[in-house]
Symmetry: C2
Subunit: 228 residues, 2 copies
Amino acid sequence: MLELAILGLLEDQELHGYEIRKRLRDELGLFANISFGSLYPALSRLERAGAVEAVEESGTDGGRAVPMTGSLSGERAAFRARRANPGRGRRGRKVYRITEEGRRQFAALLGSEPGAGIEDARSFGLRLAFARYLPPQARLRLLERRRAHLAQRLIEAQAAAGHGSRLDSYARSLVEHTTESTERDISWLDRLIDAERGRVAVTTIAGAGERAEEYHEMKGRQMEGEAR
Amino acid sequence: MLELAILGLLEDQELHGYEIRKRLRDELGLFANISFGSLYPALSRLERAGAVEAVEESGTDGGRAVPMTGSLSGERAAFRARRANPGRGRRGRKVYRITEEGRRQFAALLGSEPGAGIEDARSFGLRLAFARYLPPQARLRLLERRRAHLAQRLIEAQAAAGHGSRLDSYARSLVEHTTESTERDISWLDRLIDAERGRVAVTTIAGAGERAEEYHEMKGRQMEGEAR
DNA sequence: GTCATCATGTAAGCCGTTACATGATTGC
DNA sequence: GCAATCATGTAACGGCTTACATGATGAC
């Protein structure tokens, strides 16, 4: 799961560990503050598995550069200090890039159905956040599976509320609020599913089936207006 | 955490493991289907720690009885089969009752602030579900802490959304939906906090401070209309 | 008598945490 | 120079999961 998140962020640009943590927290809101004790070992595992590699920081390396901190003097100092120490620009900072093997692993992780098991909110959120790397049909399946799961939970909750279950006001308030949230989640998913079905129809008509590895990447690059 | 949930359910009535699992899933909606591999070891730990004890099933034991399955012939068979085998009525079913020590541990667990750490949704939900066993002031603190936590997350999310963070439509939809949900959670908490402040004011005027061990228990029993 | 369900348990392992330890960079 | 923050890592452990194993009860 964490590895999926890391690979997903690295698909987009090169990053170092500390920055990955920040993105996960601030940008996606998933893994509210993942701990370093998870993050760094995960990066090591990925590196050993050949999914990522340490790279020279910034420069003319073709990929998107590591974001600057905003301090001019600091960046100059970093430039001065940079040596031929793989992945260690600005001494101590280890920048990772995803490999081809890593992209394969990412696609596999992203596409794999969590075998009827957990299917929890975090796992879904993570997959949705990276949905642009999923083929349209898989995207639709992801949304529909989540919808079905929530609808099921709703049914069970209503069944339990029906027979007996004398709860005090606190527990009742909690259950009711949870139910409302779930209903809103389902409406939201319905909207996403609708939008997605439209897209799938268009794609199918155009003749492009479930084949390619990346989707809407062009669009993504355009949105950023970055040199390439 | 699981132990808190178990003790909380047992505060109310005697139960066996399988039934505890069902309650957690159907009634509270927390721990969607806790696994037996967690549940039974947890019960064993609690028993070893003297927090719970196996008891004779149903009969005239003073506590609330284990719920019947609804099958008359089955219940008669269970009665016939019952022997002096601690906690094993209906052969194979092990019914637990909370002890005085268990009540102390429960109060301690319930009241303890999760040291600035996780403070996650599940932990809060669990504590709220058992809020009636908390002194009014502690109840208020629980709600306010949760509110503060969510408000903080909201601020951080907005800060991140402000500078940069070009997300694609999927990630953006996820972030926006999450933000809306958080805002709704906060409104809900505000309502609970308002209601609670009223109660605290009344209690304080009446002269009852933060002392007793159980609250609104009378009310709870009345609501159920059960023989005692 | 047989099948679904109820019921309890053990073993291995995953995925994450906290606590600890270290050092570079940068603002003041 | 000193503190705050950035940055990387290790060790121990916590809590829950899956998979496996077993057996009783109850409906038909």
